[in-house]
């Protein structure tokens, strides 16, 4: 007999159902083979890629499509590295012209040191891209009002950060993440800042629909091992959320009966 207790809802973004609530990036891997092995171990179906110039001298690696089969993974082009709405729209259109799909992970950075998003430019780009027929998944700050505006603009998912990109600090503001999830109808996917499996688990326990990560897996000593840990952590966090945690209290409550104890010598 199986132990199914609380069946989960399917994970649907923009009308498409995905098998995994973990979305992974493809950057910063030491080798392409290691990247593919880690992505497979993560169980992720949706995988982000960046748009960059072809290296005409071929001194660097070839394009990622030589390593990732679009039949096996849902490739999500991003606008990483863009600092203006205009650039983000340009990169999104280049990504779409590759012919895989009309989706984009929109990212408009506003500050080099923290890589925090420029939320005004993100909203401007999201509006333009939605009007142009894109299905936009927007990376944003953990700010409720921006998240609401991005949903109103027609984004198919809103993706607040846990903490800055590549920082590995975990969820710095779980209350804001929970409030964004409570208030939005579109999927809320926490994007950026997860460092290790416990961070991923805690993130999912906030009730969000999914997590997007890259560095936590790519920069682990053993990316395949960490990818497997992340898959389990995402599942554990999701199931814990669905199961409903006990109330926390700052006093001990015994787990064993207080009655039926033997007489002690002194009494």
């Amino acid at each position: 007999m199986t132990m199914e207790s609380c069946p989960d809802l399917p994970f649907v973004i923009g009308g498409q159902t995905f098998t995994s609530r973990l979305i992974v990036g493809t950057g910063k891997y030491r080798t392409n083979d290691g990247m593919v092995a880690a992505i497979r171990a993560s169980g992720a179906e949706m995988v982000t890629v960046a748009v960059r110039r072809v290296d005409l001298d071929r001194s660097h690696e070839e394009g990622i499509l030589h390593h990732l089969d679009p039949e096996e993974f849902f490739l999500l082009p991003n606008t990483a590295g863009c600092y203006t709405a205009e650039d983000a729209v340009r990169y999104a259109r280049l990504g779409r012209a590759a012919g895989l799909n009309d989706w984009v992970k929109l990212e408009v950075i506003g500050d080099e040191r923290t890589l925090l998003p420029d939320t005004a430019a993100t909203l401007e780009a999201a509006t333009a891209l939605v009007a142009d027929g894109f299905r936009v998944m927007a990376y944003t700050n953990d700010d409720l009002v921006t998240a609401l505006r991005l949903e109103e603009a027609g984004c198919v998912a809103v993706m607040p950060l846990a903490s800055p990109i590549g920082s590995g600090l975990g969820v710095v503001n779980p209350y804001y993440i929970r409030e964004i999830k409570r208030r939005l109808s579109v999927p809320v996917i926490v994007d950026a800042g997860v460092g290790t499996a416990s961070d991923a688990c805690i993130t999912m326990e906030q009730g969000v629909d999914g997590v997007l990560m890259n560095t936590a897996i790519a920069a682990a000593a053993d990316p395949v091992g960490m990818a497997r840990a992340m898959r389990l952590a995402i599942q554990a966090g999701r199931e814990a959320y669905l199961a409903g945690r006990m109330a926390a209290r700052e006093i001990a409550v015994p787990s064993s009966p207080t009655s039926g104890m033997l007489d002690t010598e002194s009494s």
């Binding site: 890629v49 960046a50 960059r52 394009g63 990622i64 012209a97 012919g99």
Partner: protein, 80 residues
């Protein structure tokens, strides 16, 4: 780099373009498809932007490379 010519254009004549940010001379009369061939790039693996406009794959054969063109050849790389 000098790219072998193809198509029309006077023999030996060159046009100067900016390709992925680098100034290059290519044979006059070259098409964008010919440019990709000369670089050993498969048209299905790259996206071409010419003078800030995306060039659909169907248009690669018919589009000439002209003097002063700013051409960007992009593809997908690893990213988060």
């Amino acid at each position: 780099m000098t790219t072998p010519r193809s198509g029309s254009g006077n023999p030996g004549e060159l046009v100067t373009i900016v390709l992925n940010g680098e100034v290059r001379s290519v044979g006059a009369g070259l098409t964008v498809a010919g440019l990709l061939r000369s670089l050993e790039l498969h048209p299905g693996m790259v996206v071409v932007e010419r003078n800030r406009a995306i060039l659909p794959r169907e248009a690669l054969q018919a589009t000439p490379v002209e003097e002063g063109d700013r051409i960007e050849l992009v593809h997908f790389v690893g990213g988060g």
